[in-house]
Symmetry: C2
Subunit: 202 residues, 2 copies
DNA sequence: GCATATTGTTGCACAGTGTGCAATGTTTTC
DNA sequence: GAAAACATTGCACACTGTGCAACAATATGC
């Protein structure tokens, strides 16, 4: 973890800009938030803003909304239930990531007020979905490609829901995320099996 | 189905613009596709372009990528397996919608080359997901809100995959979509249950 | 038919977005 | 401390998207 002065400044500036973006967006509304306003709030030039983020949406989400999966070769060959492995994999990812509850709350507040931001939010999630799909492909085999995509999309969505729950509840630790994912995936499985052998009573 | 001259023209112009947008995007690449180029290709002014679509991405997707659920009160109270009901609901929606295979193929070709378009694609799907979520909520009860969202997202994704398969295979009729959704959801359920009672042999 | 209301198209002005480039600063390297 | 590497900025420029007002095309009522 070698952090030169440059690296630290670059990281800090990136965070400063994000903070400025979120602040201005909450204060003035996203529509009245120009890149110029964000830059001024962050104490930099407009041009520099674009050296850090492609647009104001990206600046608001920053790196906060982004999940990286780390070395998980164990996944392909595991004999444990898929649900537990997925929950563990994604829970671990959330665990390793510096999730900032306060910041996330603010970001979610902006997103809630401005659906336009959800687009980029989903795109970020899709990056994770692609990674999960690859892992599921390795585990299930190539003839299950479609199922792998479906399952990956479901799992990623479960992660999102779990993080939402975690964000909203101070008493929850990061470990709760793994549990939440597993529990809910089991719950969904139950519903999917409902009356599949046959219909229940009225 | 009263179609005044105005209505017909408006619809036709909308389609003309979409065609122009897809054509230019395939010819020059999305990055070299200006709204001006699209407008010229469609034989209208730039200003008029923006009277029809908010931006070039929307113009390319047009109304083709958009699924409406129609009156489906039956869903909430049905006693059939959830999987079959979801497949029927979504299959019916695809059925009622004027899906144009050739146009969809072109659109998908543009999307494939330009991931930026996927954002709006997903946003369109999300509209459907929201509707499905509401129906599942009515069926499952409010204490299953999270599960409803997960399931809706899975089902919508299944619909997308089914449409993809349908688009790519001339021999498939629209009815195949319902079957594909049901089959794959069952397949996913199987995977989710895998070794959940307990681990299989090596 | 014809007058009038409604809706559609267009040009124009204008604020905002995003990028290439070159000048100027700042940090790193040796 | 000189030279390389990288960061910040201003400037020019092409493109996006919207409000507004003029004008054209269609619809409506008589």
């Amino acid at each position: 973890m070698v952090t030169s002065l440059r690296e630290r400044r670059r990281l800090q500036t990136g965070r400063d800009i994000q903070m400025a973006a979120v602040t201005v967006a909450l204060r003035n509304g996203l529509d009245n938030t120009t890149t110029e306003a964000i830059a001024t709030e962050a104490g930099i030039s407009t041009r520099t803003f674009f050296n850090y983020y492609n647009n104001k949406h990206a600046a608001i989400l920053g790196d906060a909304v982004r999940i990286d999966l780390i070395g998980a070769g164990w996944f392909a060959g595991s004999q444990n239930p898929v649900i537990d492995d997925l929950a563990h994999l994604l829970g671990q990812a959330a665990h390793d990531h510096p999730l900032d509850r306060a910041l996330l709350l603010k970001i979610l507040e902006v997103i809630e007020a401005h659906p336009a931001l959800q687009e980029m939010f989903r795109t970020r999630l899709d990056e994770t979905t692609v990674l999960v799909t690859e892992m599921l492909n390795a585990r299930l085999g190539d003839d299950m490609a479609v199922e792998a995509r479906l399952l990956a999309s479901l799992a990623t969505q479960a992660l999102t829901e779990a993080v939402m729950t975690w964000v909203a509840d101070d008493s929850l630790g990061l470990d709760a995320i793994t549990t939440l994912i597993a529990t809910r995936l089991r719950s969904v499985t139950q519903i999917l099996m409902q009356s599949d052998t046959h219909a229940g009573p009225l």
